[in-house]
Symmetry: C2
Subunit: 350 residues, 2 copies
Amino acid sequence: MFENKNTTPLSQLGEFGLIDHLTKSFPLVQPSTLQGVGDDAAVMNFTEGHTVVTTDLMIEGIHFNLSYVPLKHLGYKSVMVNLSDVYAMNAYPTQITVSIAVSNRFPLEALEELYAGIKLACKNYKVDLVGGDTSSSSSGLIISVTAMGQVENEKITYRSGAQPNDLLVVSGDLGGAYMGLQVLEREKEVFKVNPNNQPDLALYSYCIERQLKPEARKDIVELLEELAIVPNAMIDISDGLSSEILHLCKASEVGCDLYEEKLPCDPSTSSTAEEFKMNSITALLNGGEDYELLMAIKTEDYDKIKGHPLLTTIGHFTDQKEACNMITGLGQSIPIEAQGWKNFNKDESA
Amino acid sequence: MFENKNTTPLSQLGEFGLIDHLTKSFPLVQPSTLQGVGDDAAVMNFTEGHTVVTTDLMIEGIHFNLSYVPLKHLGYKSVMVNLSDVYAMNAYPTQITVSIAVSNRFPLEALEELYAGIKLACKNYKVDLVGGDTSSSSSGLIISVTAMGQVENEKITYRSGAQPNDLLVVSGDLGGAYMGLQVLEREKEVFKVNPNNQPDLALYSYCIERQLKPEARKDIVELLEELAIVPNAMIDISDGLSSEILHLCKASEVGCDLYEEKLPCDPSTSSTAEEFKMNSITALLNGGEDYELLMAIKTEDYDKIKGHPLLTTIGHFTDQKEACNMITGLGQSIPIEAQGWKNFNKDESA
């Protein structure tokens, strides 16, 4: 992707030169950050509330395919994935560290693109990049991000606090990122056959953006604060709604009834599913990477969220421990099953 | 390495099953840990002092070679590398997160070995494993560790605090890990030619242990506390003494004179260097991975450390900004040069 440009090989910079170069223009804006990149460790002053920490690995060929993922978007998304976990604790992210391993096939300009996306994410979410590591890799690109955040002690939301009769509420809409991935995979195959094909992807722009440039739901955590709501439990939807519902129910030792007809779906998600001859309920239930927040809201808070455009009540929790069912449009009750994460079943060459 | 045993493929467990399985027996011992593995993020309560955070990536084929590194040792070392950075801030480590990516060629039993080493490190250093991520990898093994720690505000040691006339002091001895690597690399080549050769490595046990199972210098941070010494600056030696001296001098805007004859060297390091027809000063100055601590000590603290078996005064800082010299046994002054980290110069197949 950078073959024809006047590029700079990484060997021109050492490890320290590379880190300095990539991170020098990152400002520090969080009052809790005392020392960012440049020492043996970053230093923070967390003296109030609780500190949360979460980490995610993204591997080329497993989590992303550089034939259709622009590096700037990838950098942005690698931060979002982690911030989403921080927001799922009802916390606000404050610092991140970013480690990357790259092979020599990446010129400096490729890493600059990646870091431009990371920088934009830091700016939009007021998060400081405070550390990291760079390494060479014998194969592809590897990105490891760790995010820290802070939350007032009484506002933290674990997975384990859902109570029977709590409402099951989700932010935004579901399935878009999954359908975006299907479109991108299809275009990749078309490109192999006809590299001169100029696809018109405008029809799919919503789904593609959900896949390539997801946003962590900072706005939802802010909204909950405004509405004076502390959910009894919360989780982010990274692996798919079914999987996350099962996590919440297992950790909270409750069951739940989910209503198929209530599931929020953007019209372009359902039309894309239709084009792919796919039941959109599959994308809604099992499509991952939406990074929406799924929460257990007390019934007395219902009036505060009723009809809110960003929140949808999709079911309720029950005292039937770990009995999780979806009620279909025809009134049938179907057990919700985990699709989970199947990468270990893939062939190594995948 | 696990081919002939009755092994369990990773595909038998999903992502969640794998994390649960690998981390279920890890106890939480730090009072600041409120929630470990099992939610969207770990939760800590850091109510006093400063919090430090550091992260390192270790990549198969770049940082380690599984043909001679046992997985348990690798797990242990991956934690040590990070704890060493925490100690270099004069802080005590409290929590770690560990993310791994592995290909299908690793059976579950291999990961259990890796985590046995991580668990031993956590036990020996009283650190809690609070989070992480597991992923498949299209090629080798990747380990990303992030460590957090705490330090009283007035005891933190940055790289930037060294003053002219401060003593340059190093813990332990140098060059051993590097010579251990040379021995292991040689044995790998011998093994290729004659797989039935049973090498007697007893002669090299010190150096090999320094390479395969380094210890972070918790004891030195405890010693400094006992002696009521707060170094003006401190750094850990991961890339080699020369490189770390230059970092300290650059960050502190000072120079230094280093005395060749003072460099601490174990007899087995020098004898191994001799056998390899290598000047041992090369190993002492540029050999990485010793994980010793290098510090700037005020002259008034000299009497407290004089003759201490764990600490050696190897030079002093000067007001000659960034002029770093080694004074040889013959009294010559030679500029210290960074060897740095050259992995990006290696061929991709390295």
